[in-house]
Symmetry: C2
Subunit: 136 residues, 2 copies
DNA sequence: GATTGACTCTATAGTTGTTATAGAGTTTAT
DNA sequence: ATAAACTCTATAACAACTATAGAGTCAATC
């Protein structure tokens, strides 16, 4: 049985984050010591690593909660998991597209300044003042 | 002179957002009518569109405030504007890279489920339980 | 002139996933 | 006994909005 500081070191999640996950029901409520300190075992470490792995994939806390729910009802079909993953992948790809477009616009804007001028004549500021290309 | 609702329609910014921008000093404090309603002229419309354009490029409110400051001191050199733009572009590109990596991992994970199975045997959940590839 | 409806005002809370405090209690070591 | 290191809860901060409550303003209708 380890305390929260050690769990933090082992998993790489901050102490506050661990407490937050507990409050949000992403990990089980920890047992407590006599002095009311949280105590964790190996299972708790695994649970937290699962959550951390999901977070590294940018799954939201509600999404993770849903995954945990599904994994606790083993009779359930995979469809639900898959639907969520597909939706999530879609969102990530949409965001990539958005940012790529953004990046092009930013680079174009950046090119409109040839340095060493004063801000008064700056193409960047002038272009920013003009109406946006399209507000997507 | 138009009221805030009309400004909202003209610019496509919500009423609350306009009030928020005023509080955050991204647009000038509006004149007030007898009944304490905000009143805007053409200049105000332009100012708000500038801010909106910047936001559509994902510039943060502090960054926009900085741009506004620079554009108000016309003697200033372009260097500052450029430095900010470069930093911003860097961040956008870094985020694109991150998301691209993420997307690959998500797709790989998604492939590990062949549907119609029960969650118990699901490759997705199994792989999520395993230690992450790398926590970047 | 009273009432309705559409609009506006301020102030405050909620969103998301943490991070950072404050102030108090616990444990371990000296 | 005391100090250091840790833990506890509760609360605020971050970013950029969005949403709400409760009150006030204004124009038009009856
Ligand atoms: Zn998602
Ligand atoms: Zn320039
Ligand atoms: Zn930026
Ligand atoms: Zn599956």
């Amino acid at each position: 049985m380890i305390k929260i500081g050690e769990l933090s070191k082992v998993t790489g999640c901050s102490v506050q984050t661990i407490r937050h996950y507990e409050k949000e029901q992403l990990i089980a409520s920890a047992e407590r010591s006599e002095g009311n300190f949280r105590l964790y075992d190996e299972v708790a470490v695994e649970q937290l690593l699962f959550v951390k792995h999901c977070r590294s994939l940018d799954l939201s806390l509600p999404e993770i909660r849903q995954l945990l729910g599904l994994s606790r009802s083993p009779g359930a079909q995979c469809d639900d998991v898959n639907r969520m993953m597909d939706r999530h992948i879609e969102q990530v790809e949409a965001r990539i597209q958005e940012l790529t477009k953004l990046n092009e616009q930013l680079r174009m804007l950046r090119r409109s300044c040839s340095n060493r001028r004063t801000v008064e004549q700056c193409g960047i500021l002038r272009n920013l003042s003009a109406t946006p290309v399209s507000s997507g």
